[in-house]
């Protein structure tokens, strides 16, 4: 059973809330970063919220995800606690990784988030292993593996699809094709011109979805998840989307035009589109929609305030910490 169905009134409210929460969360991070209270760098998924939510909504409670360096949205959509996420970025002991991981490494294994990963395609073999484990243990659970268009050129992508293919593992590979791997345009990086068609090589279904349409992502992922749960094997979903912000904090955006970014933002924004759809279909009223926005904003505010009050991570706890 999907956790929520964005094509029903109740599901729409919850999905919209998740998507707004992701956006407000990352906007809050930008502000914190500008104020100099964060360390390191971060990768924002603003503009890609529909992929995270469309996939996470289609999973059942107890299913797993693996995530990427651009993973805030995946974590939030899969149920992460905002306060613990902020606490992690604010270097607090109460953070998901006790301040050891930061933006790129949010994990909540008990809740099914097997972790964000700083290594491009690094989570793909892990997702395959987690799916293998579900099959061996007969749990009936499914793993959704997020990765980027750039990751499709790592050996790990090919080895994972092949292994999952020959053993029919319950894993849904979700490629977030946001048009660039850092500065490299997907067309320039991808021989054969298509990521989704690579599925053919491994004898698994491949489907290209509109990654800025949460309903399209949800429907296709639901089918893929159901199929994987029935033991019919993996699927490759390519979700076409766009990253509004720079790759990370040091990006000068020299490889694309402001016009291109504006085009996507103005005409294909996943939140604008879903809100319009929700009203059109009569799933929510405009008042309810406004309530969602306010609820997301307030939840983010409350979480960040609470996180600030938490105790800092303590260097004394590092001794011996590399081992269980």
């Amino acid at each position: 059973m999907p956790k929520r169905d964005p094509t029903t009134p109740d599901g729409a409210r919850r999905s919209l809330l998740v998507m707004w929460t992701i956006r407000r969360f990352e906007e809050a991070l930008e502000e914190l970063f500008a104020r100099g209270v964060l360390h390191g760098t971060m990768h924002l998924s603003i503009g890609q919220e529909a992929v995270a939510e469309g996939v996470a909504a289609a999973l059942d409670e107890g299913d797993f995800i693996t995530s990427t360096h651009r993973g805030h949205g995946h974590a939030i959509a899969h149920g992460a606690d905002l306060e613990r996420m902020f606490a992690e970025l604010l270097m607090k002991d109460t953070g998901y990784c006790r301040g050891r991981g930061g933006s790129m490494h949010i994990a909540d294994v008990a809740a099914g988030n097997l972790g964000a990963n700083g290594i491009v395609a690094g989570s793909m073999t892990i997702a395959t292993g987690a799916a293998f484990s579900q099959m061996m243990q007969g749990t009936g659970k499914v793993v959704a593996c997020f990765f980027g268009d750039g990751a499709a050129n790592e050996g790990a992508f090919h080895e994972s699809l092949n292994l999952a293919g020959i053993w029919s593992l319950p894993v849904v590979f979700v490629c977030e094709n946001n048009q660039y791997g850092m500065s490299m345009a997907v067309d320039k990086a991808t021989a054969g011109g298509s990521i989704v068609r690579r599925a053919d090589a491994y004898g698994i279904p491949g489907v290209r979805v509109d990654g800025n349409d949460v309903v399209d992502v949800f429907r296709n992922t639901s089918e893929a998840v159901a199929r994987a749960r029935r033991g019919e094997g993996p699927i490759l979903i390519e979700a076409v989307t766009y990253r509004y912000r720079g790759h990370s904090k040091s990006d000068r955006n020299l490889y694309r035009t402001v016009d291109e970014i504006e085009q996507w933002r103005k005409s294909r924004d996943p939140l604008d589109r879903y809100e319009a759809r929700v009203i059109d279909e009569g799933w929510l009223t405009s008042d309810q929609l406004e309530e969602c926005r306010i609820e997301a904003r307030d939840a983010v505010r409350r979480a960040v305030e609470a996180a600030f009050r938490a105790p800092d991570a303590d260097p004394a706890d590092l001794v011996g910490a590399a081992y269980a």
Partner: protein
């Protein structure tokens, strides 16, 4: 006349020289073209030399390093970049099982003249998968040379030396060094480089103890030596510059003079380069000159954490070197 420039600029100038001087040289790596590299090191080179010779690659580390091996054994002089040294883990086969082995394994009928550049080290808040100091891995593989320049002049000169070397060279640049400035005499031909792979350099003379350092710990050791001097302790600071081959003779000679040895690196202490330096001293008559046990000031044996205070606690700081040196001298 030397001019003041950053470590990154001096490194870029060396690559520019090699690209101009030798048609066989090319650069390849992720985002090294119009992006200029994750740390801006290759900024502008694609405009100067074109996309053929300054090649953006897909995110495929194994293929990038393998490409270098294949090109090197067939007449080219590749300089490839791993965006962070951590990602060389994805390219260990072409580096360790191929590049390092071919010359010997094929009975000397091939050489593998290639350079793998990679930024390493912590202090940027990039956490466990983007902050490692992996030099000991490479130094342990016969066939690889491992260079870790600490100053703008050395990064310029040693890249040229690496190019002149017929072996695969792992060239590790600490991220915090990129923006450091210093006087640099730019060479006009690679052959003019005075630096030799396998030669350490005494950066400061002293009589009370020897501090052997490399990479980011070199400037930290120099700063510690200033602090020690105001406490009446004269430290001799050696920049090892390359850890494979290791210039142990320079360290031995210094220890004979000072009678005390402190080795420092950011990489975790266990089975690190420091142990090799200490053993090298103990295997010689320098051992007889030691007035105190040797000391190591190295990274804590945990993956690099994100939080500022945690990261600071894991990385050896100037104060740590200073305190350990005082303890040695006052023991």
């Amino acid at each position: 006349m030397p001019e003041t420039m950053t470590y990154a600029a001096a490194l870029r100038a060396a690559m520019r020289l090699l690209l101009s001087q030798d048609e066989r040289v090319f650069l390849a790596g992720e985002d090294i073209g119009v992006y200029g590299g994750a740390f801006g090191v290759t900024d502008g080179l694609v405009a100067e030399f074109g996309e053929e010779r300054v090649r953006d690659t897909p995110i495929s580390e194994e293929a990038i390093v393998g490409l270098a091996v294949g090109a090197a054994i067939t007449g080219m002089r590749p300089i490839v970049e791993m965006q962070f040294s951590d990602f060389v883990a994805n390219a260990m086969d072409p580096l360790v099982n191929q590049a390092a082995k071919l010359h010997f394994m094929y009975g000397g009928n091939v050489t593998v003249p290639m350079i793998v550049r990679a930024p390493g080290g912590g202090g940027t808040g990039a956490a466990a998968q983007h902050s490692q100091s992996l030099e000991a891995w490479f130094a342990h593989v016969p066939g690889l040379k491992v260079v870790l320049p600490a100053t703008p002049q050395d990064v310029h000169d040693l890249l040229l030396a690496a190019y002149l070397d017929p072996n695969p060279v792992v060239f590790l640049e600490h991220k915090l060094l990129y923006k450091t400035e210093g006087p640099v005499e730019l060479r006009s031909r690679a052959e003019d480089t005075p630096a030799r792979i396998g030669e350490a350099k005494v950066l400061r003379e002293g009589t009370d103890l020897t501090i052997a350092a490399y990479s980011i710990m070199t400037p930290r050791a120099l700063e510690a030596a200033d602090g020690l001097a105001s406490a009446g302790i004269e430290a001799e600071v050696i920049d090892l510059r390359t850890v494979q081959p290791l210039d142990i003779d320079t360290v031995r000679a210094s220890v004979k003079k000072t009678g005390r040895l402190l080795v420092t690196h950011e990489a975790p202490q266990p089975v690190g380069v420091g142990a090799e330096v200490v053993a090298g001293v103990c295997e010689s008559d320098a051992l007889d000159y030691l007035l105190a046990p040797v000391a190591r000031v190295c990274g804590q044996p945990v993956p690099m954490p994100y939080a500022r205070e945690l990261e600071r606690a894991v990385i050896p700081q100037v104060e740590d070197v200073e305190a350990a040196a005082k303890e040695l001298v006052n023991a």
